[in-house]
Structure formats: structure tokens, C-alpha cells
């Protein structure tokens, strides 16, 4: 299969990297070759950040070339222009507007709600998403995350 490109973007400290970790772990568990690229360091301090996940039969560069992202998931509206160039023509852009924010159990769970929305575009088994969410989060967040994920899917 062709390499699939999924880019997560937003501001440091809002769960962008965590969301990309979860997605990467899901496709890793499906047996694909996976690469994931991000820059940490100074950008943690509230600046713009992005994390690229690529998967397929064989992935070369870990970075998604501009104009080739199949999915772009942006966690803050003002970060859309910064990342728009990544998206391929006809690629899918997901933003917080795709979530019913009034129903979000906790604003920190936005990343999981966005993953819920993203999950509707793939036919990955639901129980895989659920087990990875449980594996990568502390138990005290499991209930909130389950609600947020469901909200994203609704």
C-alpha cells in the first residue's frame, strides 16, 4: 500500500504529541511499518508544534513532505494556517470545530475526542483504539477518555 500520512499539530502542552503517540501505536499494532517525527525541546514552551505519523508497507522519511498529508488534525484554530501547506489536495482537515465542545467532559480530553473523530475515517478495530488509550494513559483518565472518544465518534 501507499504510505499514509497523518499530521497532528497545535500548541505545546495541549496533547498533540500524545495524540500522535496513540495513533502511531494503533497502526504499529496493526503490523505496518511506522515512522513518527516531531521536534521537542524549546517548542514545548507553548509554541507551535507538530507531529508526523506515516505508515504503510515501507516508510522512508519520517517527515511528511508538504502537500502530501492525507489527514491534518489541528488542535487550535489559529494553528491551521501554520500547517495548511502539509495537506494534500483533497486531504481531510479536522479541527476542534468538528467536536461538540460543550459536551467535552474535560478540556484536556480534546486530543482524545479528536482521535475519536479521526477513527471514523479508518476501519481499525474499535477495541484496538480502546486498548491503546488505556495503555498510554494513567488509569484515572480512562473514564473521561472513553467519553471523549465516543463524543468524537458521534
Amino acid at each position: 500500500m501507499e504510505t499514509m500520512n497523518v499530521k497532528f499539530a497545535g500548541l505545546g502542552g495541549t496533547g498533540v504529541l500524545k495524540a500522535s503517540d496513540i495513533f502511531a501505536e494503533v497502526v504499529f499494532n496493526l503490523g505496518y511499518d511506522v515512522k513518527k517525527a516531531e521536534v521537542h525541546g524549546m517548542s514545548q514552551r507553548g509554541g507551535s508544534i507538530a507531529s508526523d505519523v506515516r505508515y504503510g508497507n515501507r516508510v522512508e522519511s519520517p517527515m511528511i513532505p508538504d502537500g502530501t498529508a492525507d489527514y491534518l488534525i489541528v488542535f487550535a484554530e489559529d494553528q491551521i494556517p501554520v500547517n495548511q501547506a502539509a495537506l494534500k489536495p483533497g486531504g481531510i482537515l479536522l479541527t476542534p470545530k468538528d467536536i461538540d465542545l460543550a459536551k467535552l467532559p474535560n478540556e484536556k480530553a480534546l486530543n482524545v475526542a479528536m482521535l475519536g473523530k479521526l477513527s471514523t475515517y479508518f476501519d481499525f478495530p474499535l477495541d484496538l483504539w480502546e486498548s491503546v488509550l488505556k495503555k498510554l494513559f494513567n488509569e484515572k483518565f480512562h473514564e473521561t477518555n472513553a467519553q471523549a472518544f465516543k463524543l468524537g465518534r458521534s
Partner: protein, 541 residues
Amino acid sequence: MLSFDPNASRMLISGNEALALSMLHCKVQLATGYPGTPSTEILENFSEFGGKAQWAPNEKVAAEVALGAAFAAARSVVTMKHVGLNVASDVLYTATYSGVSGGMVWIVADDPGQASSQNEQDTRNHAKAAVCPMFEPSDSQDAYEMLKTAFEVSEKFQIPVILRMTTRVCHSKSIVRPTGGLEALTPKFVRDIASRVMVPGYSKPAARRLRKKMEDLEVWNVQNHESLVVEGSNDLGIITSGICFHHAREAAPEASILKLGMTYPLPADVIRDFVKDKKRVVVIEENDPWLAENIRALGISVEAKYDPVFRFGELDVNRVKRILAGEKTPDPEAVKGKPPALCQGCPHQSSFAVFKELDCIVAGDIGCYTLAALPPYSAMDMMIDMGASIGMGLGLRHVLPPEEARRVVSVIGDSTFVHSGITGLVEMAYNRPATGHVVVIVDNSITAMTGQQEHPGTGRKLDHSPTYKLDYTEIAKATGIDNVVEVNPVRDREAFKTVLREALSKNELSLIVAKSPCILALKSILAWEKANKEAAAKQEK
């Protein structure tokens, strides 16, 4: 906390995690370093795996500790970022002369694109200048394998070896299938004065021995096929190394590619063999045209990237396509993102607001607080290298007219002070400016910028267990500083301002420790302290 199972047969891990795993499998007996993005997580992960990992005050000391271990026939690792090698280069340039008895690998992480660094220097220049063999991994599996090979080379040829990482290889995740490590070495001391005491009588023959080792190593590099050839069209050949290999394969899937694993000494015969039937050969590399220049020096004709555009920043698939097309136009302008800023509630916000209110000329240093140079603070006037705040501040004081000199303050973080600030205090008391001088340690009780690492001033080791806690005020008194004050710049902001104003008005030497913990680290610091207290209480029973 580990995010993966180190016993799995297939794992999705970063280059730094892969190195830590390889260190475990290669039975590394001592690993040391100083935190620096993007290298920091290597030692932290190794410690999590149960390896012996420790932070040193700076990279030079770390390298010396690792060298001592390798003189004792152990297997050691020292980690640092590229600029850390400048600090430790004094060790490297003569450790290649002496050689080692065990195995010693220097993991040095470059930062093409300067994601988190003050310059974009290319470690490959150091490797050649210091005459140190060098490997360049391209992904996590490569990092895992090449560390092992680097040790094999180090132990066979009795020489330190550099493993050159880059930000993308350190922090990108890719799949690793562990392949097993090395048998443990047994440390022992065997006297060898002529090899390890580098006085001219011994170092002159050592220099010749070193060059002979390089000749042997080049033969080894050719014979052991540390290079990978991807067969493709003869119309286009690409010579590359590190992460650029993957960009190149994606950018030009039809091309033949020579991926060099060991880039110093270069395998000249392998390169000659690769280019001989190619119509066109292009070198794809980040930053300096290092491969291109060294390959040309062998008398082999290759094309290089257009330097005025492509020397700067990271490469990616689209940039590699542009290089291959011979483009010379500037890169398309990217939309600028939001720059990093001091965190809400960061104690540096308070300190730097005071420097601004008092119209200080701030000789600054390296850490989170360097962000105070940016708007809205714009309250740092210079920053060059670790510890430079004190020396630069003194230089300003010596030459400026007295009314301007009295505005000069050197501002340095706690970890940076321990790294390279102490000798600055010695200089300050030794060559005292006429107007005196003021140093402020903005002490947030952690190495914050790199992700909250311990240092000798926190009183805790890399794994957060307790150890001797360095006392800055005692150091200042011992070096001859007239006034030493500790004040909390957040809780007692006005007191901090008063103390600073008074210090600036006197012709005396003052050290102000502006102590208030990092807001992000506070919770962890309290938890570590509590755990250490409980462990101590348990031991007393």
C-alpha cells in the same frame, strides 16, 4: 516512565531509546553526559533500564569520566549535544592519541535546523580534526546496530569512536527489532604510561600510531561493508548518510544510492566503485558540504547541493528533490508558527521584569530564561555559550564608562552556573572591575530547558536519589565575592529589586541567588524529595 516493553521483539521507539536499549544489550558499564537537546533522553532511558547512568557537571568532565573507565578496560558511553563537544573537545583531541583499552563511544547529537540550539555546527568537522572514527545512523534500527559496531571498532582498534546523531534521528520513532549485543568486558588496570601520558616524548609517536590506525580503519570500513548500496538506475547515483538516506530514497526512488555508515575514515574504494558507472552522482547531506568536499579530496568528482540555500536547516523530501533538480531559488516561505515563551507562572518572568525595570544591561546565558530576550521582555542583551554571561559581563564592566558599567549584570541559570559559571566567579574576584560586578543565578532548582534534569546543585542524582548538594553561596565566598544574598524573586519581588539595585550601586562584587523553583518541575521535585526522605527514614529504622 518507559513507554515501551524493552523485552519485545518488535518495538516503535525513538533513536534515543534505541541507543539506550543497545547500551543495555552491549553491557555498557558506565554512561555519563550533560543534558542537551536532542541527546538528553539517552541516559535517562538507560537509567530506566537499570544501566549505570549519571549526569556530570559538564561535557568535559563527563568525557573524562568515561575515558577513565575505558582506560580501565570497561565499556563506556558519553552523551552530549553538538555544542557540548566544543566543551569536551579538549578531551577528544588527545584521547584519540592515547586510545582506550576498553570501548568508548561518544554519542554526539547535532541539530540541523537549530530546533533548540545556539548554532548549527557540524560534528563531522570535529571527527576529522580530532582524527576520530565516526558512524552516522539513519533511523532507530541503525542507531541500535551502529552503537554495537562502534564498540567493536573502538575495542578492536583501541580508539574512541563518535556516533553522530541528528535531531530527527534522536527524536523520530521507527521500528526496532533487537538483534543482541556484546559480551561483557572485565575492568582491570594494566599500566601503559607511554600510551596514556601525553607528554611530547610519548605523544609524537602516538600521533603517528593514530594515523596508522586510520589507514587500517579505512581498510576495515571497505571490507566490512558498513556502507549500503541500493541498486538503481545508472543515470543518477546518490551518496548520502544518516537521515538524508531516507529522504533521498523517497525523493528519487529510481536512483542508485550509496549510504555510508562509517563516514570517517571514508571508504574511498567503495565510493570509487559506486561512481564509476554512474552518469551523474549527487551528494545529499545536511549542513556543511562535508561529504562532498572530502569525496572530492579523494579525486572523485561529485555534485554538491547549492550551498547558499541548502547549507542551512534540515533537509526533507521536497528539499532533496529541489537539490537533485539543481535548483538555486530560495525555499518557499513557510507560515511562521507561534514561538516558544516562558510558561505561565515561571519565576523567570518575575526576575526579568525586574532587570527591565532597573534598565540593566543583561549579559545572559543558556536556559529557559534565554526566552526573556524575546518580546514582551526583550530583557537580555547577549547570549553566546554556556557560562559566558559572567565573562562577557566582566568585559563590559572593564571598558564601559562607570555610569553604564554599573548597569551591567550577568544572569545565569543554576545548572549553567555549575556547568561553566564557577570559573567566571574566580575571574571576577581575580580581575575585579573598578565598578565591581553583579551576578544573578536565576535558580529554578532544575535543568529546566532540556526537560527537568538533575544537576549537582539539586542534591539529587540522575535517578533522583540523594547526593551531596552544591552550595552556591559557599562557592562564592570561597572565590572572594564580597556580598552573597539569596532571595525569592517571585514571593519577595520587591526585596529582590532592592537587593539588586543596591548591589548595582556599589563598587563591590555581589552574587544574588534568585531562588524560586520551575513551575513545571515543582510537583516532581516535591515527590522526589518526599521519596528520598521516606527512604532515609526507612534506613534509620
